[in-house]
């Protein structure tokens, strides 16, 4: 940190006095803009929300007395031949992780002030996110219409399977949908020069990216705990 530290007496703190001293010296604890710091703190809080959902799901999965359906059989799709387990989920996961890649590129292009490329990369991130939500809708409809699973009833076994599934993937899907809207708003602002008028600072692309990567990371945990367990 280059901000001058104002001491009541010059140079009284030796460099050896540790991390706490360093962090507490300056006007700012983290050398980042306010919005970015706030997004990080929000994501920590949101992590606790998803953790509670997942812990709740694991807890009811243990406590229920009815058998738990086997996810690799439930989430299998057949393309003419034998059903392939988890194929749709694999594609969805691939798409979401790809969208993290385009997002990272968008952040880079944002810092290079290449507004056009930033715009298109953010729009493609949003498109990948939207297709993820679309496939999730397909998966939901398959489960609801073909298998007869509802939050309150499950012909394949424990009712908690349907309740947890719809609740957790639904909450995550809402996060993705919100992210798509967020991405599009920022992308169009980048395109129409909104940030040029505000000093040409494209930190906001990275802040949006933080949220988007977080949503992807959460999906990895949902994938591991719900589909692979």
């Amino acid at each position: 940190m280059s901000e001058a530290v104002l001491d009541s007496e010059a140079g009284s703190v030796p460099a050896t006095s540790g991390v706490v001293e360093d962090w507490s010296r300056d006007k700012q604890v983290f050398g980042v803009p306010w919005g970015k710091a706030m997004m990080w703190i929000f994501l920590v809080s949101d992590t606790f929300i998803f953790s509670c959902f997942l812990v709740g799901y694991m807890s009811v999965r243990i406590s229920t007395t009815d058998p738990w359906p086997i996810p690799s059989e439930v989430f299998a799709l057949s393309f003419g031949g034998d059903p392939i387990p988890l194929v749709l989920i694999a594609i969805m996961t691939f798409i979401l992780i790809t969208s993290s890649g385009t997002m990272a590129l968008a952040v880079n292009m944002g810092y290079r002030k290449d507004r056009k490329k930033t715009f298109w990369l953010m729009v493609s991130t949003a498109a990948l996110g939207a297709s993820f939500v679309g496939m999730q809708a397909f998966e939901w409809s398959k489960l609801i219409i073909d298998e007869g699973v509802r939050p309150w009833v499950n012909p394949m076994g424990a009712t908690q399977f349907g309740s947890s599934f719809f609740m957790i993937t639904g909450f995550h899907g809402l996060h993705v949908s919100a992210g798509v809207i967020y991405l599009l708003v920022i992308a169009f602002r980048v395109k129409n020069g909104f940030y040029e008028r505000r000093g040409g600072n494209y930190e906001i692309v990275e802040i949006t990216g933080l949220y988007w990567h977080f949503v992807d990371l959460v999906w990895v945990f949902i994938f591991a705990f719900f589909y692979l367990w």
């Binding site: 983290f30 919005g35 920590v44 509670c52 908690q160």
Partner: protein, 587 residues
């Protein structure tokens, strides 16, 4: 640093003075106005909760005398009293009220980092309060499940308000959490990133430290409440079975199967125990500043006070199941949670000793804020010690769900924080309004409240030992209770009525002060912290006029030898005043 320079410039550019009445006082983005909005709303619902407790006491003191209180109402009164007091009054007042008012002023900032979001925070909070109040008037009334809202009973027939009441309650909580998150992100980011020059973290007044750590606790604990509220709403509205086991309710199978009621208790108390400290830590911080200022002494052991706040905050996340010793969970859990619970007593005791040692040989001015601060030390030690009893599994078993528990938590997180709330309002009232309050009325208010609350809660410990269960509408013919228990209940009710009436003195004082009170000095208590050094009194939008303050010393330079005054404000440069005893080290 380029980031800071840009951030500072942006921030100042956005601070143009609002022109119309509506942008100045209603849709205001000024942290001070938002703080007052939060404060007024919180105190308003708090008065409703006070009224509910009076109704409960009337029934308990004089059973069957009041025909308008039936068992259903009684449970609704209990539930709404607890919920409003803990969340809508104390959490909102400490963080939304004092947090909003004091953080930017004490850190030397112009406002919160995102004022627009700060404004939204208040309006969503107001919405949550409105939803809460609507639940009183829906068919079936508000929920009567107890403030802990335990399933299965919370959503099954037999509990008042099991339909719309509980749904609105959970919805209101979810809104409150959204509001709190928007405000809380602001408070944390402001403390971390927007302090003025020279204001290092270890120079922050303890008020800011307490509110800061409490806000972090809130951001990490409220998610558990949000999740349990969502899951219970699904159980109620969609018929899922997260918390609902296979159960027969009044001879009918409601169709639930295989859920876990204990899961709700774990989730609820993972929120619920940090919530105790969300209320307590701001009180700890504020009272430290009150004691130091009015004893004209630096706070004893500032560094330890900060670390104790952090340690208590951290530990508060691993003690939650001490609320669940009788829930039927694995007894080995009890061993773990009793140990962590008792460990919390160590940093808490450090704080109490340091408060007392701050008073030791101080030049104590027994003004109204100081009286409330010292009253807090009494009630907090009292409630804290009974907490040690209840933290032990074997002692908790017989005392659980008796009036001993009621006495304990009212002393430690009811009366104690309220003492600080009053002390802090009296202390900062001159800054908020620019007027002085009436000292005599304030002293009457303190003594009636302080002695009155002891008259209420001390006998409750005894009732608890006798085995009087909490949450009962009436005792009926309970053989193990002597008749004198009823006499005691009647006397508690009389004391409670007295305390409730005494609060009128507070409001008379506020109104008197606003209408006829003398103008106050900009710094009536000769305090060192930045909020008393503002160029305008009361501070205007943007707080600091043209130039942000620069801080050269910690917040507790009182009675420094060799200086003309017995206090040196934080923004006095070292060439104008001697270096004080920053962190207890004599330079």
């Amino acid at each position: 640093m380029s980031y800071a320079a840009i951030a500072d410039r942006d921030h100042e550019r956005e601070h143009h003075e609002p022109q119309t009445f509506i942008t100045k006082y209603i849709w205001s983005q000024d942290h001070k106005v938002i703080a007052i909005q939060y404060g007024i709303t919180a105190i308003f619902v708090g008065l409703i909760a006070l009224g509910l407790s009076v109704m409960m006491r009337l029934q308990l003191g004089f059973p069957n005398e009041f025909a308008f209180i039936n068992p259903e109402n009684y449970y609704q009164f209990i539930t709404m009293h607890g919920m409003i007091m803990v969340i809508y009054l104390l959490t909102a007042l400490f963080l939304g009220g004092f947090g909003n008012y004091l953080i930017p002023l004490m850190c030397g900032s112009r406002d919160m980092v995102f004022p627009y979001m700060n404004m939204l925070s208040y309006w969503v909070y107001l919405l949550s309060v409105i939803v809460l109040l609507i639940s009183f008037f829906v068919p079936g009334g508000s929920t009567g499940a107890g403030w802990t809202l335990y399933p299965p009973q919370a959503i099954l027939p037999g509990t008042p308000g099991k339909d719309l009441g509980i749904v609105l309650m959970l919805g209101s909580l979810a809104l409150f959490i959204v509001a709190f998150t928007m405000g809380g992100l602001n408070y944390v980011t402001t403390v971390l990133q927007a302090r003025c020059k020279g204001m290092t973290l270890m120079r922050l007044p303890l008020s800011v430290w307490g509110i800061f750590i409490a806000t972090i606790l809130g951001l990490l604990a409220f998610p558990a409440l949000l999740v349990s509220a969502v899951m219970m709403l699904f159980d109620k509205l969609l018929g899922t079975s997260f918390f609902m086991p296979a159960i027969s309710s009044m001879g009918i199978d409601p169709g639930y199967t295989g859920g876990s009621p204990i899961l709700f208790q774990h989730l609820f108390w993972f929120f619920g125990h940090p919530e105790v400290y969300i209320v307590a830590l701001p009180a700890f911080g504020l009272v430290s500043d009150l004691l130091s200022t009015h004893a004209r002494k630096n706070i004893f052991g500032y560094r330890m006070m900060v670390w104790a706040i952090i340690a208590i905050g951290g530990l508060s996340f691993i003690v939650w199941a001490h609320h669940m010793y009788v829930s039927g969970m694995n007894p080995y859990f009890g061993f773990f949670f009793a140990t962590t619970t008792l460990i919390i007593a160590v940093p808490t005791a450090i704080k109490v000793y340091n408060w007392v040692l701050t008073l030791w040989q101080g030049n104590i001015h027994l003004r109204v804020p100081m009286l409330f601060a010292i009253g807090f030390i009494f009630t907090f030690i009292h409630g804290g010690l009974t907490g040690l009893f209840l933290g032990n599994v074997t002692i908790d078993m017989p005392l659980s769900d008796t009036y001993f528990v009621v006495a304990h938590f009212h002393m430690v997180m009811g009366v104690s924080p309220i003492m600080v709330v009053f002390g802090a309002i009296y202390h900062w009232w001159p800054k908020i309004s620019g007027k002085m309050y009436n000292e005599t009325l304030g002293k009457w208010h303190f003594w009636m409240t302080f002695l009155g609350t002891y008259a209420i809660y001390l006998p409750m410990h005894y009732l608890g030992f006798q085995g009087v269960p909490r949450r009962y509408y009436a005792m009926g013919n309970t053989e193990f209770l002597p008749e004198s228990a009823q006499a005691l209940n009647a006397s508690i009710t009389m004391a409670a009525l007295l305390v409730a009436v005494a609060q009128i003195l507070f409001f008379i004082n506020i109104i008197w002060s606003l209408v006829k009170g003398p103008k106050s000095d900009p710094n009536p208590w000769d305090a060192t912290t930045l909020e008393w050094q503002t160029p305008d009194h009361p501070p205007k939008h943007g707080n600091w006029g043209d130039k942000l303050p620069v801080v050269y010393r910690w917040a507790y330079d009182y009675s420094v030898p060799g200086y003309k005054d017995d206090f040196i404000p934080q923004n006095v440069p070292p060439d104008e005043a001697p270096a004080g005893r920053e962190h207890g080290v004599k330079h």
